[in-house]
Subunit: 378 residues, 2 copies
Amino acid sequence: MADEDERVRIGIVGCAEIARKLCRAISLSPSATLWAIGSRSIDKARSFAHQNGLSSSVRLYGSYMEVVEDPDVDAVYLPLPTSLHVQWAVLAARHKKHVLLEKPAALDLPQLDQILEACSSNRVQFMDGAMWLHHPRTSRMRELMTDPQLFGHLNSVHRNSTFCATPEFLDGNIRVKPDLDGLGALGDLGWYSVGSILWAAGYRLPTSVVALPQVTCNSAGVILACSASLIWDWRRVPNPDLDSPRHPHPPYQTVATFHCSFLANLSMDLAIIGSNGSIHVMDLTIPIEEQSASFDFTPATKFVELHIGWSTKPERIQVSSELPQEALMVEEFASLVRGIKRSGCQPDSKWPEISRKTQLVLDAVKKSIDLGYAPVHL
Amino acid sequence: MADEDERVRIGIVGCAEIARKLCRAISLSPSATLWAIGSRSIDKARSFAHQNGLSSSVRLYGSYMEVVEDPDVDAVYLPLPTSLHVQWAVLAARHKKHVLLEKPAALDLPQLDQILEACSSNRVQFMDGAMWLHHPRTSRMRELMTDPQLFGHLNSVHRNSTFCATPEFLDGNIRVKPDLDGLGALGDLGWYSVGSILWAAGYRLPTSVVALPQVTCNSAGVILACSASLIWDWRRVPNPDLDSPRHPHPPYQTVATFHCSFLANLSMDLAIIGSNGSIHVMDLTIPIEEQSASFDFTPATKFVELHIGWSTKPERIQVSSELPQEALMVEEFASLVRGIKRSGCQPDSKWPEISRKTQLVLDAVKKSIDLGYAPVHL
């Protein structure tokens, strides 16, 4: 653990439900400490502190602004409704606070670009709240996927991201309110879907995006369920790897599909099919258990004689995790912040780039829906 | 086992590779016996019989016609290239032979309708060669899916169906030849994809089908890889179940996507997400092992407190099978044939209806591709 005065002091802006998970994550992260909590009223902040057993040393504020202005706060975590992200993330950056922003990062790319510009020009770290990227399982899958023998080139990806919202959620949650989280399930669950597909594609943007003609909206027009496909037409993406004699079957393409919904049983599976291997995960967004998570890896497989079985079985690969993924996210964020603060490092551009590409594709899905499911070329 | 003279006498028309698997299946099926094999030359038939250790009692013919005309043959299995299906299936039916037809059943629905009309008017059983439908795992999944508490209504389905074809296959296999299997991967693997999606949807036809703008063809224009989506807009499908107060969120829709490819590692996974439960299978088309096959069932699942895990884990359900699925298919086919032959039963209309719906949707996918990925309404 870092010395107490070396720990990054995080202020939480807003007492959303997800903030409870982050309080615990910050408490588990050796490099961070929870410094302050701000809510729209001091009573709400006090009640949140009491309910979550926070130390009395945590400063409680009756406004968001006080957190952002607290000179002792190094970084803020913003679990606010998406419509408020641009205002508060930009304000925080201008106050030289590093920004850990709950997803979806913004309502659209122009808003996110305002945030990223503010972070960049104030030399503060930006990171969105996609926790699964920080689980060691994710790195383990990446290792396999970058091995040409074990995985090969990417052929297809499918991602489900659903949960069964309660009637109360569908009636009143901020994620179904047009003025708060106008992107609905596309913003909330779609952030994970698009994010994991881009991750699988090594963050190369698709050449086109098309929403499937299946969108369910509530009476206010907020998306409750939708699906889309992303296409990589590698003929239009120069890539020396794919022009080698190992890939003699042009035109070579990659396709990804995803489905997200507030109206279905919990699912968060990812299937990634490569030319030489494939990966299946059941619980990508939030692992079933904290200590250990698994995925199935199927290496180059043929049929046995007479096609009555498989030559190799999928292998279940178990990856243990000393800290929960959200604590690893806080730890990664805090270590970057410390590097900037103490050692004069530049903010890591990887994280804003990931968020920006995710938002860009989300925008394209939304545009495709608005255009009556027309393809949107990127 | 049936008395020897009670067993249904099957003639195989054509010595394709898949015929070897069916020879074994027939030998394992208590109700069937392999009676004859016909190839384009008697030498090929002899060589096939020798290579597969067939009993000397199996009649060997140097033409397809002799099998069809053999008065002792009750039923034929036709593993011919798809372009020959209509000719030989119709001929077989006219000779009062029951027809077990390798998939894809035909090049298009008009051809299949000729076959089905010939079977119907000659009162012979028709069944296509989709073996997975006969595995007890398939019935076990259906049981769960018809339980409103355990599964609920169907939300989404995704199916991968891929294998990594060898250069020799891509160069010369009948499945990539425009004059033999003109539908390529869409016909071969798409038959399984569409078939399992329709199965999951209880064989209700989708309201629309749209191919995704990702099709890889060989130089002769045969599809090597493609993807599509099927949409059920239940507002357009009267269904009292869905108009109940249990489904208060109109407009309610179901979406399915599939990807099929000759250019990727072996995959045959199916993910079915319902409102109350979900099912994931890794090896739907051909189980990894013969004796036992599994699937994962996830009952109604929530997050645990703080959203740091799942309230219930997916349950791995193992289903053992006394006979391989292809022998169960032969057994089902033979028992229907026996019922018609001995007891005057009518042919079971279930099997031709399943094939017809599968072909109808395949045709719609093909049409959508030909129309530049436009939606095709059914």
